[in-house]
């Protein structure tokens, strides 16, 4: 039972990491980046490829991969956000959405070409700890801790640094923030860089335990979007908590019911939650 709990928490931690990035990009730029999950798959592929050179641990590889994904986020900004900044708000949102879908599809094809249809699977042996008679799988525990630290550092960055405060200001009121000298272009580019970094790290963590397919990117985006919708668009705490809950629900649904019921249960809960939430708001 404790293993199911830990597994659920770990899965939730990865979901949270993934969703926090998507929420960040949406909150600050109003861009729903459909290539977000593909960046996670790219993280997994890079980790798998790196293992041929040296048996990096997933957490050590994260340190190496973080700046790469930051740069990829900047490039992504130039592709799916910057070209549409002169359009009206609604037109730019639609244009960015379609552009990011295009990027996601191109990336998927590139992944298939680059590494074939083999599952992206990395094996990293790590001991099992005995804690008060309970078997704690070390890899999951350490990865869970690393995911929590990453989310914590991202939150600190947003709250305590000038760049982070600029991002939050831009998310709250773009025009007023501009009047105070915050450059929307550079700030939103930084936000997408941070979001891409979180997606890449989530992919590395995910692949350390679960195999990913080269075309799993859009599925991951959908899952992250589900968490963001349920947890609240544009904030970090909501998606982080919802991500954890989703992981726990998935794990326990597989334990108490059948695996086939997991998705049904998860999406039914989302619909119920949204209906109740919307009902309360109307009242």
């Amino acid at each position: 039972m404790i293993q199911v709990l830990i597994s659920g928490l770990f899965l939730g931690g990865v979901y949270a990491l993934l969703a926090v990035g998507l929420s960040l990009a949406f909150g600050i730029m109003g861009v729903l980046n459909l290539a977000h999950g593909s960046l996670a798959v790219l993280g997994a592929i890079l980790y798998k490829k790196s293992l041929v050179l040296y048996p990096f641990s997933p957490w050590f590889f994260c340190v190496l991969a973080a700046p790469i994904f930051l740069c990829l986020g900047f490039i992504l900004h130039l592709t799916i956000v910057a070209p549409f900044r002169n359009l009206s708000l609604s037109a730019s949102v639609v244009a960015s959405l379609i552009a990011s879908l295009g990027v996601a599809l191109i990336l998927e094809d590139l992944f298939v070409w680059w590494q074939g249809w083999e599952p992206i699977s990395t094996y990293f042996s790590f001991p099992i700890f005995n804690l008060l008679g309970l078997k704690i799988p070390g890899l999951r525990a350490v990865l869970m801790g690393t995911a929590a630290i990453t989310i914590g550092l991202s939150t600190l960055f947003l709250k305590k640094t000038d760049r982070g405060r600029s991002m939050r200001a831009l998310a709250q009121d773009r025009e007023t923030a501009s009047l105070y000298g915050i450059h929307p272009g550079i700030t939103s580019m930084s936000a997408l860089g941070l979001a891409a970094m979180l997606a890449g790290l989530a992919g590395i963590f995910y692949s350390a335990l679960y195999p990913l397919g080269p075309r799993d990117g859009l599925d991951l985006t959908l899952k992250a979007l589900f968490i963001v919708v349920a947890g609240g668009m544009g904030n970090l705490r909501g998606p982080a908590v919802t991500g954890l809950l989703l992981g726990l629900i998935e794990s326990f649904a597989g334990f108490f019911f059948t695996y086939t019921s997991t998705d049904t249960m998860v999406y039914s809960l989302l619909v119920i939650y949204l209906v109740v939430k919307r009902g309360r708001r109307r009242q």
Binding site: E118, S121, P211
Partner: protein
């Protein structure tokens, strides 16, 4: 005016006669004799099965090159040896796509004989094209009973039916008498389900008790709940009936969560599985059609074909089954002495031929006789472990 009408009549008559002669001659004994033997097939070069058979067009071309280097296949009816040409399309691991290409192979490419695609679901769809057009179809890695219970007359399959897929493994377990209980983890798709149904009966016959059954969707990523239940049931053998991606995911988490039965049996434990698990694959038992050291038929020809194709047996363990299908097709053409489809099919039905995997013959419904041997990954290499006359090394229980 009259002359113009007469000319028009004459022209029509000549045209009709010309077409008539062409049609009659095309189907008559005076038609031009065949210059080559066209073998049609699809290969899953892309899609989920590309990990299993992706580069097998190279295998087919390598076999054709080997045969053609000896002058081709002797076809008595033509009085000469004819070169072999494989016509191959990518079915994208998809049944409807495969069926479309088999229809093309029959109608456009005029294939003389067809080799089946990989997997039961894709073969199920593709074989319809062969049956409708009455073209001999040799299925390869497709042993679900659903394919052969349809009363089709134009299909044979090299391998035995799915329920018997692991019978030699259970014979070994019974003979060794060290295991008493088994837990089954089954991927909810056609072939793994078929193998499980057979394994369940065979394990009972071998005196084992099934303590747990977990049937899981093919896209399951997190197996923690299933693994916890298996730990509670504490079986001697954990039997995983699944395709490779599923098996890798399950085994990796089983290792990580410390699941430690006497033995893991994973039906598809080929090179992709071994690479995906690294050291975690050590000791795992599975099923293989052929490993080095087996001496049925002409293994040297198979080794030459593999070398020419550049395909590694470890990475693509289904290559021997394909080789057996090539051998069956070659023998059927030679013995029929003709490329006439009816004669070819009749010859196939009563064929009994030695291949690298043993003797192949076909039951009334087309099911073949080739079966896998239990093999174990020991020091990173595959070894046949049963029966003793074929085994290349002894069986070891890793969890003992």
């Amino acid at each position: 005016m009259k002359t113009l009408k007469q000319n028009a009549w004459l022209l029509s008559l000549v045209t009709i006669l010309t077409f008539g002669i062409v049609f009659v001659l095309a189907g008559s004994p005076w038609a031009e004799p065949p210059k080559e033997i066209r073998i049609g097939a699809t290969v899953s070069m892309s899609g989920k099965f590309s990990t299993e058979v992706g580069p097998f067009k190279q295998l087919m071309d390598a076999y054709a090159a080997e045969i053609n280097a000896q002058g081709g296949i002797y076809v008595k009816g033509t009085g000469s040896r004819l070169p072999v040409r494989f016509i191959v399309y990518d079915d994208k691991s998809d049944g409807p796509t495969a069926r479309k290409f088999y229809e093309r192979l029959i109608s456009v490419d005029k294939a003389d004989i067809l080799l089946g695609p990989y997997s039961s679901p894709v073969t199920f769809a593709a074989s319809l094209a062969a049956e409708e057009n009455k073209v001999p179809f040799i299925a390869i890695c497709a042993n679900s009973h659903k394919i052969y219970n349809r009363g089709f007359q134009w299909i044979v399959c090299v391998i035995d039916k799915a329920p018997l897929y692991t019978h030699r493994y259970w014979d070994m377990i019974q003979a060794e008498a060290q295991a008493k209980t088994v837990a089954f983890v089954v991927e909810d798709t056609l072939h793994p389900q078929g193998v499980y149904r057979g394994a369940k009966k065979l394990s009972e016959t071998a005196g084992l008790k099934e303590v747990l059954l977990k049937v899981l969707p093919a896209d399951t990523h997190d197996f923690t709940a299933a693994i916890v239940k298996i730990q509670e049931a504490s079986p001697d053998i954990v039997f995983v009936s699944a395709n490779v991606p599923f098996s890798i995911a399950f085994m990796r988490q089983a290792r990580e969560l410390g699941l430690n039965p006497k033995e893991f049996h994973v039906i598809h434990h080929g090179g992709v599985f071994k690479k995906g698990l690294g050291a975690g694959a050590e000791g795992v038992v599975g099923q293989s059609y052929w490993t080095e050291g087996m001496n049925y038929g002409h293994p040297e020809q198979f080794v030459a074909v593999m070398e020419r194709s550049g395909i590694s047996l470890d990475d693509f363990p289904w290559a021997p089954a394909y080789m057996m299908a090539f051998e069956v097709a070659t023998q059927a053409i030679e013995r029929a002495g003709s490329l006439d489809k009816k004669k070819l099919m009749a010859t196939l039905k009563k064929l009994k031929v030695m291949t690298i995997g043993g003797v192949v013959s076909f039951a009334e419904n087309g099911v073949g006789t080739i079966n896998t041997y239990p093999s174990q990954i020991i020091d990173g290499k595959y070894h046949i472990i049963w029966p003793p006359q074929v085994a290349t090394t002894g069986h070891r229980y890793p969890g003992l």
